[in-house]
């Protein structure tokens, strides 16, 4: 009866207007939530679930320096799609099929024309993924122009929605790099005896964003800390020894870096050889680092570092407490013989949002959602993540910051260190309030309370 009512509503109001904004979804969602609270929403009453699978095209690096990150994402998505389909698919009714993968190494122009072609052909229900911040800034507006739903899962640049506030076909389930950079500021606030810092960040949007936010944030909280030098090695650098000896000469109290992937691995191993971690007191490595770095460094991993950033994406973080996390880690390890890295976690969050979004949309409209409805229904939701509730502010996730220190004291079946002594900094301390521009907020942040 109630579902029928909703359908009648739909026949009078065009669906496009009906679900124009996320606010509408939230209001209607709470209503529908009430009426549907009793028992399952009966899927037999839902018309229009398409017969063909839900077709996704992934965008990720399959070659070039960041390919390892793309590989984690691909691994995780293969695993998750299989799991979801084993349960019947989205809302148990519609299977997912990853119909194609586009290699980001082809560059933004090529990605944009592929996206336009896909939108014209109409054979794809949603595109998903993307590693590079720079690529996300180019591709997301293009997908939105073409009204092709785009679930952005990995890049961190805070500029994505701030530069393109009107996008209604784009949702990002990764926290922005504000969480990592401001999280690092929060860590410095808790450190004693830090007076000098050197920053080392990759020479593109991700690295410069981080350096600027970190420096501005330190200023804003009134930390008595001087950034004495900022270095920007090229992406994919293989010989950091000149940087290492220059930093070791300077011996700052703190080293801050958003280098990621193979770069942070090379940098740390050459840093160890060059005595870098004896020359600095502490290092904050916030470039989506975790298990893969600890795996590649093994016993050489220095102990006076904090690893982490925008999310609790460390395999042993709340591993015992959180069953879903434990299953994700165990299954991933069993399949791929390694622990999941950040690319895998980001992809997991994407699929969580997708499932949650489809379920919510179907509950509200009693029908399979259009692309725009689907994306709207992923706005302002929350779902479980290893760090607790993963909350979307509109189309953008706000992640807490989580940092840990390397330790051999863990129960996972790998012979390399993982993290311990976790520090959790809640999302509100490391993300701007909704509607406030990130840099404006960073310039004004208050010292952390409590």
């Amino acid at each position: 009866m109630n579902t029928q009512l909703m359908n009648e509503n739909n026949s009078h109001v065009s669906r496009r207007n009906f679900l124009k904004g996320s606010a509408a979804v939230t209001t209607v969602g709470s209503l529908a939530g009430c009426v549907l609270l009793e028992g399952d929403f009966g899927t037999e009453e839902i018309d229009g679930i398409p017969d063909e699978p839900f077709r996704i095209v992934q965008l990720l690096f399959e070659s070039g320096p960041p390919a390892f990150y793309g590989e984690e994402a691909r691994n995780a998505s293969e695993m998750l799609v299989e799991q979801i389909n084993d349960d019947g698919g989205l809302i148990g009714e519609r299977e997912i099929e990853v119909v194609d993968r586009l290699d980001e190494d082809a560059g933004p122009d090529s990605l944009i024309s592929d996206v336009q072609a896909m939108a014209q052909e109409g054979e794809v229900d949603m595109i998903m993924g993307i590693v590079s911040s720079a690529h996300s800034l180019a591709v997301a507006p293009a997908a939105d122009d073409q009204q092709l739903p785009f679930l952005v899962t990995m890049p961190g640049t805070y500029q994505l929605f701030e530069e393109n506030p009107e996008m209604d076909h784009v949702v990002r389930t990764a926290g922005t790099n504000a969480a990592g950079a401001v999280g690092a500021v929060r860590m410095v606030e808790q450190m004693d005896d830090v007076e000098t810092v050197i920053t080392v960040d990759p020479d593109y949007a991700w690295g410069h964003d981080h350096q600027e936010m970190f420096t501005a944030g330190l200023d804003a909280v009134g930390a008595d800390v001087e950034v004495v030098e900022s270095r920007y090695p090229e992406l994919g650098e293989t010989d950091y020894s000149a940087h290492v000896s220059a930093i070791a000469d300077e011996s700052p109290d703190l080293l801050f870096s958003s280098l990621w992937g193979g770069d942070i691995s090379t940098f740390v191993s050459q840093g160890v050889a060059g005595g870098l971690f004896e020359a600095v007191d502490e290092a904050l490595l916030i470039g989506d680092t975790g298990a893969p770095l600890l795996d590649s460094l093994g016993a050489d991993m220095p102990e006076n570092v904090w690893l982490g950033g925008r999310g609790g994406y460390q395999p042993n973080y709340r591993y015992d407490e959180d069953e879903a996390h434990r299953e994700f880690v165990d299954e991933y390890y069993e399949r791929y013989d390694q622990l999941p890295g950040w690319g895998a976690y980001h992809e997991w969050m994407g699929f969580e949002a997708l499932q949650e979004g489809v379920e919510r949309a179907v509950q509200i409209i009693g029908d399979w959602p259009t692309g725009e409805q689907l994306m709207a229904s992923m706005n302002n939701i929350a779902f479980e993540a290893p760090h607790g509730q993963h909350t979307m502010h509109g189309p953008q996730a706000v992640a807490p910051a989580v940092f840990g220190r390397p330790t051999d004291d863990h129960d996972l079946p790998v012979d390399h260190p993982l993290l311990g002594e976790f520090e959790f900094i809640e999302a509100a301390e490391v993300n701007p309030p909704e509607g406030v521009l990130t840099m404006d907020w960073v310039d004004e942040i208050e010292p952390m309370t409590g």
């Binding site: 020479d203 000149a242 193979g262 691995s265 050889a273």
Partner: protein, 302 residues
Amino acid sequence: MPIESLMVNTFNGLYFAALLFFASVGLTLVFGILNLLNMAHAAFYGLGAYVAVWTLNNMGDITTSTVVLLAVLVLVIPLVVFVLSAVLDKTVFAPLYEIEPVYQLLATFGVILMLDDVIKFIWGASPITVDGAVDPSRQLGTLDLLGISVSAYRSVVILIAIACAVGLYLMFVKTKLGKISQAMSEDYEMVQMLGINVNRVRIMIFSISVAIAALGGALFVPFATATPAVTLEYVLLSFAVIVIGGLGSLKGVVVAALVIGMVRSFGIAYYPALELAIVFGLMAVVIIFKPEGLFGDEGVVE
């Protein structure tokens, strides 16, 4: 500028120059003698790095003796790649010698992509480092050199590069193979008409060149990380070396590798903002004032 940091930066520069030398000397030889502009040359540097990291990590159960590990890096891996490249020369590269340089560039660029995918297919895309127990750079530790503490392993790499440069020079001026190949670089057809088996010489030169690149990759990896990015980075750097040094000149490679190594090392240390611009800025200056490179108008060992 304190004397210690001057020396540390010089050492870093020498080490980087040694790596550049390994990655690019074969490129210039293959072009100078065989007239093949092999863009894929430095991709074998990446291959050497992966083969080395894989071999070392699998040797842990057999032995962790530094001498054996170094012997594997310096002898076994180049030898394996030497044989492999002889096969590749007969198959993949043979048709390329006869075509115009622009097609050579395109075709050998294709070889880079193939090698890149082979590497990813076998070893995956995650960065791989040498395990501590079988890492000669850790085993050798540091040594005191005129008051500064430097990595003993990296000093060994610099010495091997010097030995390799001297060895190549002696090969060209003293051995029959060297003299024939010098003649081939002057007049390929004439050498062929004199009844010399140029194919055999070609395969030797090609395989030696590629093996040196693989040697460089193998020596590079204990002090770095094998990632898919290595291939492309050294392809670009090796082109910078031969543009600056001049195509086809052994001396050019040595000088250019040293110049780039030093300028980069001191540049990064004192003007970090310039890092990206340094190598290619240097290249631009050379192209403007001496488009053929510093020693481009000379023969292989003049």
